[in-house]
């Protein structure tokens, strides 16, 4: 089932990337850089082969991950012009981790 997840996730990422490649202007094209490609593929496989409860839990986690994605993009937007691509990308990933994992901890671990 992992292979199926990989195939579905990779395929949807490519589909949304192609839409983004064809889209103009750039700010509109950027929407597709944060499209729910992996999420749609993974939730579909979970629903088919596992359970509705698990898919629902996945979706709850994804709300937090989405906020992390926005934080990541804000940092990427500020960091890439200043730090160039590689370090700007590293800063963006760190921002995702801090926001998403920090919120997860605050909501589901620390609050208990």
């Amino acid at each position: 089932m992992l292979a199926l997840r990989a195939l579905a996730g990779g395929t949807l990422v490519v589909v949304f990337s192609l839409i983004g490649q064809a889209a103009r202007p750039k700010a509109f094209s950027g929407l597709f850089s944060a499209a729910p490609s992996v999420a749609t593929a993974s939730l579909a496989i979970t629903l088919i082969f596992e359970s509705l409860t698990k898919a629902r839990q996945d979706a709850i986690g994804m709300v937090i991950g989405g906020l992390g994605m926005s934080a990541c993009c804000v940092v990427a937007s500020a960091a890439i012009p200043r730090l160039r691509a590689v370090w700007g990308s590293v800063a963006a990933w760190v921002a995702w981790a801090v926001m998403a994992l920090g919120l997860y901890w605050a909501v589901f671990v620390g609050a208990r």
Binding site: V13, S33, A34, G66, M69, S89
Partner: protein, 154 residues
Amino acid sequence: MPVKGGPAPASGGNRREVDVRPELRLEDLRGIKVRDYVVRFAFGAVISVAAALLAQASSARFGGVFLAFPAILPASLTLIQEEEGTRDADRDAVGAVLGGLGLSVFGVAAEGLFGRLPSPLVLVVALAAWTVAALGLYFLLTLFRPDDCDKHQD
């Protein structure tokens, strides 16, 4: 939806029109490099598997956080910066902020509707919710920061 006004007056003092209308240029797909898309496929495949393994190792909720991991964004921005310049990479990131907020809307819609609607329909509605949220936020961006969405400056 052309928006009047722009950042720099054209010659003669006339302000030129800012063009923020979204469009799909299918001809732009002719020049794509297959290697770039193989890399994106690999990133998407790896994060899909990683999210599933994390869900098994901890909880589905924790694995779900990684369904919104920015797997391909830094790679995309790097490619855009190298090939089209820093401004285009920056504009792409601004759009991705809006798409990221849409991801949370997708999650809220899916979580709220699972069990109330047939599951395949929930995924369709959640995708529609992402689309509406992302397009709505883009529309707001065109109103408040039209220069960021100007095709002439891309």
